[in-house]
Amino acid sequence: MEFSEAADHPTPALSIGRAPDGGPAVTVTGAWNLRAIQPVAGVLRDQLAAQARGTRDAHWDLSGVTRMDHAGALMLWRAWGRRRAMHLRLKAEHENLFTHLQADTPVPPAAVPWRWMAPMLAATRPLMTLGAHIEDVIALLGQVSLALLEVLRHPSRMPWREISANVYRTGAQAMGITALVGFLIGVVLSYLSAQQLKSFGAGIFIVNLLGISIIRELGPVLAAILVAGRSGSAMTAQLGVMRVTDEIDAMSVMGIPYVLRLVLPRIVALAISLPLIVLWTNAIALVGGMVSARYELDVSVAYFLSELPNAVPVANLWLGLAKGAVFGMLIALLACHFGLRIEPNTESLGIGTTNSVVAAITTVILVDAIFAVLFSNVGVP
């Protein structure tokens, strides 16, 4: 076959002899192209290094080389100490490979010099980054508030379509996963509490225990964490890709304010859908708890349901739902913030999405603690 390997790619080789004037002579033969060199690169390098050492005035005969490309030429060039060998014979067609090399081969620029300030700057960098993030989030919040004012003044510009699409995506489509997790948490919590309550003979307090913990605390936090992982990451990735592909710039150029069309609807949508998801998670978790209590403590479903309003003041429900709305807005705000900071490369997209989810979950838990302190005497009987 015409294009087969062996036929026109004899192995590159060196052989050493004596030149007529008594000096060393190196005869180079075979194919000196990347494909032929590559399997034996290590051996050739060592041979060349041994040849070049000490014998600056060796005679090099390259007329036996069948093929040569830049890789082969460069390898010899490096062995000659980055200049043309003094006594050199080569084929005319290989001449121009070396003319490229005549002008000194450029080397990549050196790394940035070390400075004594560097370690201190590195130590404060995380704080600076955090500060920059907070500043940006506040700026984004300001832009969103302005967009909201704008919409309130011209209600016809309200992005209803985007809001409803986002409510569907972040709310309706999250019902399956939140139900599964909520139910299992309810069952486990009820089962473990039942073991303790049984030993005190205080089985009927399961209603108070589950009611308060789920409605006030667990439901909102669980739903928020699930939605942050599910919808927060999706929002960041979506906005990030839109930024990478210049879609956001395109919107700005067309006079469509992206904060109004992309950020505001997501925040509004999560402020609507997360409280609903919280309500749904609460209900399913309580069902799980009821089922478990029915079998572990013989507390009937009817008793559980009739006792629930007495055991849990309704303020807890409102508190839980309010938390849901706040968490939703925070998750969407952070997701959009990280999405809009993504730079046009793949690595940045990955880091941005991860940071978005981590920041959202951390913020949810922090804000939950603040809620706990502020409302410590609300809804507790």
Binding site: E2, L34, H70, T105, P106, V107
Partner: protein, 260 residues
């Protein structure tokens, strides 16, 4: 006639019920620059992707450098991939790597070359495509469109390929840049003895560097030959393309029929 370096034989391509290529044949000879021309949706890019093994034709066989893409063993195909280079339309630079690392990546993948040689080779390739050493440490996102094209060309050339594929090499470049890009490719072709297959819309590019032109229309190659030969063909697409206002200007004195 010399042997075909790329041999496309009786290829059928179908997307659902839509037939893109019907019994298509094409032979690219060693050492020539072949341009693939055709209207939008005529299947030029699909044909290029099939020759590169990125897509499989429904029927027929494609042989590149003596290796059948349909029947070759995995090892043969792997070796084949080190013998060709591809310049994607948008460059397809790895956005997480610097310019230098982008060009060095295929060389590092060989696992046998030492760092010093790789560095010199990369800097040589970058110099060949007119990229300044100080730009080597930049990220692709901070380069202009023309620079991305040139860095992508350096990457396509880093394994010293025998066969170079270009997808719209001059699209998105200003006329001067696109002319210098054509000169660059012509020089490289002369120096390295490359065979070049390119898909393009740009008549100036076709006229300035291609040895032969293949026109894709009606699901097959309707005309094949030098620019002057193809331009005289009577197929409606060719008449519109080569003998329209733009075509006459680009062909200039090349074609007596167009000049008349």
């Amino acid at each position: 006639m010399s042997e075909c370096i790329i041999d496309v034989r009786n290829v059928w391509t179908q997307f659902g019920t839509h037939v893109v290529h019907r019994d298509l044949n094409l032979c690219v000879r060693a050492g020539e620059v072949m341009s693939l021309v055709g209207g939008s949706g005529s299947g030029k890019s699909t044909l290029l992707r099939e020759i590169l093994g990125l897509e499989q034709p429904a029927r027929g066989e494609i042989t590149v450098l003596g290796v059948s893409l349909q029947q070759g063993t995995p090892e043969q195909l792997q070796q084949l991939r080190n013998r060709w280079g591809m310049l994607f339309q948008e460059g397809a630079m790895f956005s997480a790597l610097t310019v230098f690392e982008n060009v060095a990546l295929p060389l590092r993948e060989l696992k046998t070359l030492d760092d010093g040689l790789i560095r010199d080779l990369v800097m040589l390739k970058l110099k060949m495509v007119d990229i300044q050493p100080r730009d080597a440490s930049k990220m692709p996102s901070s380069l202009s469109g023309g620079m991305i094209k040139r860095v992508a060309l350096a990457r396509a050339l880093s394994l010293e390929p025998e066969l170079l594929f270009l997808d719209e090499p001059t699209a998105g470049l200003d006329p001067e840049r696109s002319e210098s890009f054509c000169r660059l490719i012509a020089n490289l072709k002369r120096e390295l003895g490359l065979t070049v297959v390119m898909v393009t819309h740009d008549l100036d590019t076709i006229v300035s560097i291609s040895d032969r032109v293949a026109v894709l229309a009606d699901q097959r190659i309707v005309a094949l030959g030098s620019v002057a030969e193809v331009a005289r063909h009577a197929h409606p697409f060719i008449v519109e393309y080569f003998q329209g206002e733009r075509g006459r200007r680009a062909l200039g004195g090349l074609n007596p029929l167009a000049a008349a």
